[in-house]
């Protein structure tokens, strides 16, 4: 008589699962941000790492404490709060006082994410709202751009001798000054928010995410293509526009946030085009030199409507009726 087993686990099929889970996806996003952090550390110095680590710690702490107060299960292990922290840090000037960064983290995690129910429930990207709140609340420090000798001569040219802050390339363009070369722009030898400066490093991270199938190319490609096309329409240099400001960071890492972007490929393309369109309209017509955050936030709000318009059609006979 064969040995018998009578207490086996009974569970519903499927009994296998794809390797990717929420934590591994968030870990991949953190890994993809490393090249950009490395360039920022080279350009801005150790302060880039200090700001990043602080924002991660604040976000994870706020996630933990708010879940605890709301008597919900602990979710810091999914790494989504760490991702929000790092992306928010990338959106801040490197010398921003740490306590202001903490305010941004609080708004991102507590106000935008946890009050709405936590991961998956927020209608807007937490890091973007955190950045916009700081931008409005602390306008001065949020527009204080560190400059140094590692950067393009064009950025240093207009600054006073011994100045520690200066203009961003978009600021130079708005003021009608000489802008950095496209190569300097692409590599990231420029001033700006801490993690947005190096298009090359951000693209490298984006390629990693696409290869790992963490993101689909739909949003970044449609976003960037729209920016390029509209640059030509407005008579601007498309390479400069793509590498300047937060376009790369936004297109690759922020507009692709699953929770706040459409769920179908066609919806994502519409979303990306919308982001590109609003970015360029703000850059060209509005009083702010940069518009990526506002563009993405606006499209976040439109996402449920885009989802409704781009729902997949069920596979069934054309007449729709089912013969019984």
């Amino acid at each position: 008589m064969a040995e018998r087993h009578t207490n086996l686990i009974v569970a519903s099929a499927p009994h296998v699962a794809a390797p990717a889970n929420t934590t591994s996806i968030m870990r991949d996003v953190l890994i993809a941000l490393i090249p950009a952090l490395a360039v920022s550390t080279y350009v801005f110095g150790i302060r880039a790492i200090i700001l990043s680590v602080c924002c991660i710690i604040f976000c994870v702490f706020f996630e933990w404490i708010s879940r605890k107060i709301m008597k919900r299960d602990n979710t810091i292990g999914d790494l989504s709060a760490a991702v929000t922290g790092l992306i928010l840090a990338f959106n801040l000037p490197v010398r921003l006082p740490i306590w202001m960064a903490a305010v941004g983290c609080f708004i991102a995690i507590v106000v935008v994410k946890q009050i709405f129910g936590g991961l998956g429930q927020n209608f807007a990207n937490p890091a973007i709202v955190g950045r916009i709140a700081l931008f409005i609340g602390f306008a001065g420090p949020m527009a204080s751009w560190v400059i140094n000798s590692k950067m393009s001569p064009a950025i240093l040219a207009v600054a006073e001798v011994d100045a520690v802050t200066g203009a961003t390339p978009l600021g130079l363009l708005a003021a009608g000054q000489q802008v950095p070369t496209n190569l300097e722009m692409f590599l990231g030898l420029i001033s700006g928010s801490m993690g947005e400066i190096s298009a090359a490093a951000l693209i490298l991270g984006g390629i990693y995410l696409i290869i790992r199938k963490v993101i689909s190319p739909a949003i970044p490609v449609s976003f960037l293509a729209t920016v390029a096309v509209l640059s030509l329409v407005f008579g601007l240099d498309p390479i400069f526009q793509l590498c300047a400001g937060g376009v790369m960071l936004g297109a690759i890492f922020m507009a692709t946030d699953y929770v706040t972007s459409p769920i179908t490929t066609s919806g994502r393309i519409i979303f990306g085009i919308g982001c590109g369109l609003f970015t360029m309209l703000i850059r060209v017509y509005a009083s702010y030199p940069e518009g990526v955050s506002f563009a993405i936030l606006l499209m976040n709000i439109l996402t449920p409507h885009i989802d409704r318009l781009t729902r997949h059609k069920t596979f069934k006979p054309a007449e729709g009726g089912a013969a019984k």
């Binding site: 008589m1 064969a2 040995e3 018998r4 087993h5 009578t6 207490n7 086996l8 686990i9 009974v10 569970a11 519903s12 099929a13 499927p14 009994h15 296998v16 699962a17 794809a18 990717a20 889970n21 929420t22 591994s24 996806i25 979710t75 999914d78 989504s80 936590g118 991961l119 998956g120 429930q121 689909s216 699953y258 929770v259 972007s261 459409p262 769920i263 179908t264 490929t265 729902r311 997949h312 059609k313 069920t314 596979f315 069934k316 006979p317 054309a318 089912a322 013969a323 019984k324």
Partner: protein
């Protein structure tokens, strides 16, 4: 043929560890426990009682039901008892316990049937005891009993798209000619002009074997299916091979098609050729703890634990045993249950594999949406199910879900999506009754 729509699916690790292994016939176990409910439709009533001597192929259970298939003894020996016991489906059912004498003597009734008409053919299909061996267990005679000439496509399902399972593959390369003969018989008596054998591209030897046997036959085609799960799902294989769209609530017949699993055709042909009805079934015994994974021809009614022992037993304590493939198979609570006609695999896994998946929040990643072969919106359906919103569930076409599990497989939040949808479908059905 150009298909207008490319059905989605998911790339699942094939894990076809037993591919290329011949099917070994296991020796009779000491006892078999033959359940009387082995098909969709009416269960059978026992025709023997304790103490009766039986032989292989002897009729031991039958039903008057229009949709039913008779049951035959899988061993020669003596009926020990007629009992009520638990089946694989977790239900209590009548089973006939037969003590084997190990001689495998054939019953006198085992003679090839004489077939001169469509009615003879349908009777033979019934007497063969064959049911849909792809897992559906629909009686073959009921499936084939159509108005001759009313169907123009016979689709033979050799996709075997589930991981691990390789018995259909083994059968296709070993009995290529018999399967083709079986296909030709069905085409002849049902007056079906075209047949297509759908085989997933990961079995090039099976495709080549059929192409060789079928050289010069333009009525039967071999269709290489894409290597993506679930190409073998009925609605998917019909679309892939003929371009016809069969939806929820429709039978393949409504689209002029009959779909049959390759092993079902072989078992029917085997009966027509030899008179031996369906008394054994080939199963893949695999997983991550079986000592000698292999393909085994098992007498119907053999305890699953006996089959595992025949394969050398297990390297460690099993935590999960799945009948069928890991995508759609059923996890059974215990292994002292009988093998039934439609089983295709016994997969044994240890605790590492069987770990319960911890469900987390949906992050709206869209993997399920990009995966659903029926182009449903699983993430949205899940939300509507959580809200118990029957109207939204209907509007989202939840009834079209075929429970293939692709969405749950890819879900990074580990949500049991198709399990939810099964309940959602029940909710919708219940509401539409009112």
């Amino acid at each position: 043929m150009g298909l207008t729509k490319r059905l989605n699916g998911v790339h699942v690790d094939h894990s076809k560890n037993t591919a290329g292994m011949a099917i070994k016939r296991m020796e009779d176990p000491e006892k078999v426990y033959i359940p009387m409910s082995q098909n969709i439709g009416a269960p059978c009533k026992p025709l023997v009682k304790a103490g009766d001597a039986v032989k292989v192929g002897q009729l031991i259970g039958d039903s008057e039901g229009r949709i039913s298939a008779p049951i035959h003894s899988s061993v020669s020996g003596t009926v020990e008892a007629v009992i009520q016991g638990m089946t694989q489906y977790g239900k209590t059912d009548t089973s006939i316990v037969i003590k084997s004498d190990g001689k495998r003597e054939l019953a006198d009734t085992v003679v090839p049937p004489e077939i001169n008409s469509f009615e003879d053919f349908i009777n033979a299909a019934r007497d063969s005891g064959v049911v849909g061996l792809g897992g559906a267990s629909f009686p073959m005679a009921a499936k084939l009993n159509i108005k001759p000439g009313s169907v123009d496509y016979l689709i033979i399902n050799g996709a075997e798209c589930e991981p691990y399972i390789t018995v259909d593959h083994a059968v296709m390369v070993t009995y290529t000619r018999d399967i083709v003969d079986g296909i030709r018989n069905i085409m002849k008596w049902l007056q079906i002009p075209n047949a297509v054998i759908g085989i997933e591209g990961n079995k090039p030897d099976a495709i080549a074997a059929f192409r060789e046997v079928l050289a010069g036959d333009s009525a039967i085609k071999v269709h290489e299916l894409r290597q993506i799960y679930p190409q073998g799902a009925e609605r998917v294989i019909i679309y892939e091979t003929t371009g016809r769209v069969v939806s929820y609530g429709m039978l393949p017949l409504n689209a002029g098609c009959i779909v049959s699993n390759v092993s079902s055709v072989l078992k029917l042909q085997h009966y027509i050729k030899t008179g031996v009805p369906l008394v054994s079934k080939a199963v893949t015994v695999d997983g991550n703890i079986v000592v000698n994974p292999q393909n085994v021809e098992v007498p119907i009614g053999t305890m699953i634990s006996d089959v595992i022992e025949y394969c050398g037993g297990l390297k460690e304590e099993p935590k999960k045993i799945v009948l069928g493939g890991p995508m759609m198979g059923r996890a059974i609570p215990r292994d002292d249950l009988a093998v039934m006609k439609a089983n295709s695999a016994i997969l044994c896994f240890n605790g590492d594999f069987a770990q319960q998946r911890k469900e987390t929040a949906c992050i709206n990643c869209g993997r399920c949406v990009a995966t659903c072969p029926m182009s449903l919106m699983p993430a949205k359906i899940s939300r509507a199910f959580k809200d118990k919103d029957v109207e939204a569930l209907m509007e989202l076409d939840v009834l079209y879900c075929m429970d293939c599990g692709s969405c749950a497989y890819v879900c990074p939040a580990r949500k049991p999506l198709n399990f939810e949808f099964r309940q959602a479908k029940a909710m919708v059905m219940e509401a539409s009754k009112k």
